[in-house]
Every structure is written in structure tokens, then in C-alpha cells.
Amino acid sequence: MEKSMRGNAHKYGKNVDTDVIIPGKYCNIIDQAELGKHALEGLDPEYTTKMRPGDIIVADTNFGCGSSREVAPIAIKGSGTSAVIAKSFARIFYRNSLNIGLPIFESPEAVDGIEDGDEIEVEPASGVIRNITKGRDYQAAAFPPFMQSLIEAGGLQPYVEKRLAEMKAPA
């Protein structure tokens, strides 16, 4: 996995849904950078102007609920946001984020211990979330073993290539 991420926290509430992450009207856009210009537009229209590359979204429970639109995590990634830390994630968003390479971390304690604007560092390999401003460390929940093996293999694409080769190989 990538090296550590560092940036300021932008804190939001619970049930941040995919309609506010990337409103439906932008869902015909494919380009990541273009999508990134509209990240979180329905929730915080100022987000893309006030955030700096590397900044981290911190949110309460059920982040990414609603539609299966993969452009939701793609838009967040395209905005330059380095990671999302939440108390919990909606199922499809969680899977999509790992598939497209948006680092996400689950830690209720970290979310409670981070205030808007705090400087945060995350070590993806260990799952350690460091609140530099407040001098406190938190441990994100480990990824389930199968997800961890997908991440270590480099994502879904290499996994599919391997499966495909197995299927094509003569029995």
C-alpha cells in the first residue's frame, strides 16, 4: 500500500450519501479530475476550494450510503483528498473505494477525537491514525483478510487477471 498520508481534517456528520458526494447530474462524467471538481458539492459546495491536496475527510457513521455509483469515490480521489476516515462505511461504497484505490479507514475513536481542521497523518500499512494537532494516536480497524489479500495483490484488476488465466488454462 501507499506511503503515509498527511493533511488537514474536514469533518462531516453521519449518512454522507453518494448523492451529496457527487450529485446525479455529474454522473455522466468519466474523467477523474473533472469529477474531482465537484466532490462533496451537495454537502459542502466550498469543499474543493478550501481543501488542499492530501487533506482528509472525517465523517460519522454510514459514509457513502445510497447509490452504487463508483464515481463517488473516484470524485473524492480526483479532488486530491488522500483518505476518508469514518465510524463506518456503506457496503457498496466500501468495496468501490478499495477497488479504485481510495484509502478508507474505520475508527470511531479517531472520528470522535478529531476536530475540523486538525492535522492528521495516516499510515496505511499499520492503520495508525495520528492526530498531530492533539498529539493522539488511534488504530483503524484492520481490513477483513480477503480484502487485505486483494489490497496486497494490487487491487481487483490483478486478481481478475489471475482468475482469468486460471480459467483459460487447460484443466
Partner: protein, 429 residues
């Protein structure tokens, strides 16, 4: 140890004699679905997969143009064309263009592409709709859909199952939508995350196929992976009319393990309304109508309530009347077949004569795409499934979710209205 309905379907598709919650499986898929938005991204991903020149089976993929069609603008036309070109290149059998399909989840069952016991994944969160037929349907993002296009299998974590038992008889003007809104509020919008919902009880046994579609469709509004009914004689008759394909009717074991059991009694259930801005912010109509809530738009349609049975209810309430001059009513029959059936029954004329705009089938208005987008400060009561901030357009608009009956009653008065206040209308279904 016994298995739930979902576990049985997953076990068979994984080639296993049994599975248990939490287990990771590789499951064969019977059908992979995408619309032009999810397909556009999935096709790009597939192009990047080494060795993936062809889809696994050109007869087991359904591609439906439904979100931004007829094309809203050049960019929408581009993604629609991207999917159409892919369908041609891969010789996809089940490709539905504008005028020959409609909303994906309305079209697939109509075309006999969904049968009990099958496993369907789709690049749309409302793929859970197919649970209405005793199938396992779940929504996924485009990368997973690309993998399914190529492999014909997906990895899945077997979900725990929540059993919901519905008892009682629905009152006049109380329909499946009201039962499901009540269910979503009972569970909460993340109450079923990572879970399967299994619907039981005499109330749902008595529901029509359309009613079950409405309920399975909104399982995702509680965060569920899938929502499923047992197939019965009604299901089998519906499916056999549309396909000769063999299928297996599964049944949950008597000793199946459920994570929890929830009972919902519907005898005293009123029409329900989900108020802004979450689908679980549900209140009985008597509470909502305590204050006068004027609306600017009424929307009838979507994969939740765009079926002929829904349009019949609306037409019965609006027949011979005019909608309130203070609002507009937009009706989207869910598919070309629904549109044609409504035309042949005179429903489209009834609705148009009442002052409704009848659109071509599609998803546009429901997700704030086009053909019914809300402006700042506007309020809509809608038969759709989501009312998040900005869902139907402006983030400064409000969306209330309700049944076709409640929406039709509100269309007449110009404010959110209890359909039971309307002159006695015998609902045939």
C-alpha cells in the same frame, strides 16, 4: 445447520453444499446488468484487464440505456453511445436502447431475464429489486461489474439475514410502498448494512408481484445487500409467462439461522411519508398532514413505483378531475411495455386530461438527472426511493417519498394529502 434463502442461493452458485455468514465465496452469476453510466466506467476498466477481450457470455449480460436518455446533452449521448458500441462489439444479446426498454429493473423481469434462485449483479444499487422473484440481486460498482463481465463470477461475503415477518391486512389506500417505508424507518438507513432481508408473513404472501418489487427495491434504503421473498405460485406464473428457462425454487430451512427477527403489524398502518432528507425519516400521513405542506411537483415513476399497477391507482384517483393549478405532475411509466399497456387501457389519456405531463420511460427525474429536476426552494412528493439532499436536483429542494395513492391525492389538492380523504375509490389490487 439450516440455511436462509439467501444462503441457499449463494451456496449453489459457489458450488458448495452449505455456506455461513461471513464466509467469502466465489459465486457464478446468471446475469450481469449495467446501465450507460455504470457501463461507461466498467468498459474502461475492462479494457485495462490483460487478456479480457471478450465478455464471459454474451447472453448473460443486460445493458440498458436508462439514466440520461433520451440523451440530455452531448456528454450523455457520448456515454450512451459508448455502451451501445460495446454491446455491438461484444454481440450482447440483451441490449435495450431508448424506445425498446425503459428502466433497467422494470425491463429485466418483464423480459424474463429474472427467475427464482438466480444470482444477478448489477451496476446499480437497486439491483436488489430481483429479490421480489426469489432471486439474489445485489448492486455493485463498475470495477466489480467489469470483473463480472469478464469472469462470470463475483466474490461475495455471505451476509447475515434479518427475517421480517409482516402480519395483518392492509387498509384502504395503504399499499406495499407504505409497508416498505415503515420497514426502512424501523431498521434505519444503516440498519441492514451488510445484511440480507428476508420478507415473510401473510401480508406479503397476499401482495402482488408489483408490491413485492416495491419492497425488494427499497432494501438498499436500509443499507441491505439484498432483500428477498420466497417465490410462490404468483411468482412462478409471472416468470413462466416470460421465459422457458429452467429455474430452481429455493426455500429457507426451518432451522435457518437469522441474525434477528423483526415483526411488523400492518393492521393499523396508515399511509407513510418519508420526509426530507433521508428515506428513514418516515412519519404516518396523519402526522405529516398536521401542517399544510404545499408541493410544487408530484412525480410518479421509477424502479420503485413505475409499474402498470401503480399507474392504475393514480389514474383511478385522477380520473375525471384536474390536478391543482399550483403544481405540475410528471409521470414516467417504467418501461416501454408499461407505457404501451397504460396507453391501451386509456390511462395515459386520463392522466394527460387531468393535466399530467407523461414522459418517456427512464430514471432521469429520480436521481436529479433531467426531465423533472427541482429548483431552489421547490418541494416534490414522489413515488421514488431516495430523498437525500440534492437527490432530485437543487440541494435547496425538498423531496417527500410516498405511495402512488398519496402522490395522486396530493396532486389534486396541491399539498401533501391523505389518500383516504379522497372519495372512496376501490383499489382493484
Amino acid at each position: 445447520m439450516g440455511m436462509t434463502l439467501t444462503e441457499k442461493i449463494l451456496a449453489r452458485h459457489a458450488g458448495l453444499s452449505s455456506v455461513e455468514p461471513g464466509q467469502i465465496i466465489n459465486a457464478k452469476v446468471d446475469l450481469v446488468l449495467a446501465n450507460e453510466l455504470s457501463a461507461a466506467v466498467a468498459i474502461g476498466v475492462m479494457r485495462g484487464i490483460k487478456g479480457a477481450d471478450r465478455v464471459f457470455d454474451n447472453e448473460k449480460i443486460a445493458l440498458v440505456e436508462d439514466h440520461f436518455v433520451p440523451a440530455k446533452d452531448a456528454q450523455s449521448a457520448k456515454v450512451a453511445k459508448l455502451m451501445k458500441d460495446f454491446a455491438k462489439e461484444q454481440n450482447i444479446k440483451h441490449f435495450f436502447d431508448v424506445g425498446r426498454g425503459g428502466i433497467e429493473h422494470v425491463v429485466l423481469p418483464e423480459e424474463g431475464l429474472v427467475a427464482p434462485g438466480e444470482l444477478i449483479v448489477g451496476g446499480d444499487s437497486h439491483t436488489c429489486t430481483y429479490g421480489a422473484f426469489g432471486a439474489f440481486g445485489t448492486g455493485m460498482g463498475s470495477t466489480d461489474i467489469a470483473a463480472a463481465f469478464v469472469l462470470g463470477e463475483v466474490w461475495l461475503k455471505v451476509p447475515h439475514t434479518i427475517k421480517i415477518i409482516y402480519n395483518g391486512t392492509l387498509g384502504e389506500m395503504v399499499v406495499a410502498k407504505d409497508v416498505m417505508l415503515k420497514t426502512v424507518s424501523t431498521l434505519g438507513i444503516d440498519g441492514a448494512t451488510y445484511r440480507a432481508i428476508e420478507y415473510h408473513g401473510t401480508t406479503v404472501d397476499n401482495l402482488s408481484i408489483t408490491g413485492r418489487i416495491t419492497m425488494a427495491n427499497m432494501a438498499i434504503e436500509a443499507g441491505a445487500k439484498n432483500g428477498i421473498f420466497h417465490a410462490d405460485a404468483k411468482t412462478i406464473a409471472y416468470v413462466k409467462e416470460r421465459t422457458d428457462r429452467e429455474f430452481i425454487v429455493d426455500k429457507a430451512d426451518a432451522d435457518a439461522r437469522y441474525e434477528r427477527v423483526v415483526e411488523i403489524d400492518v393492521d393499523a398502518l396508515e399511509p407513510q411519508v418519508a420526509c426530507p432528507h433521508t428515506p428513514d425519516n418516515v412519519h404516518p400521513i396523519s402526522e405529516v398532514t398536521n401542517e399544510i405542506i404545499p408541493v410544487d411537483q408530484v412525480f410518479i415513476g421509477s424502479c420503485t413505483n413505475g409499474y402498470i399497477e401503480d399507474l392504475r391507482i393514480v389514474a383511478k384517483i385522477l380520473e375525471g378531475k384536474r390536478i391543482s393549478p399550483t403544481l405540475r405532475v410528471i409521470v414516467n411509466p417504467g418501461s416501454q411495455k408499461v407505457w404501451m399497456q397504460a396507453a391501451s387501457e386509456g390511462i395515459l389519456t386520463t392522466l394527460a386530461a387531468a393535466g399530467c405531463a407523461v414522459n418517456t420511460p427512464g430514471c432521469g427525474a429520480c436521481f436529479g438527472g433531467h426531465m423533472g429536476t427541482l429548483g431552489d426552494g421547490e418541494r416534490c412528493i414522489s413515488t421514488t426511493n431516495r430523498n437525500y439532499v440534492g437527490r432530485m436536483g437543487s440541494p435547496k429542494a425538498e423531496v417527500f417519498l410516498a405511495s402512488p395513492a398519496t402522490c395522486a391525492a396530493s396532486a389534486l389538492t396541491g399539498r401533501i394529502t391523505d389518500p383516504r380523504e379522497m372519495s372512496p375509490v376501490a383499489l382493484s389490487s
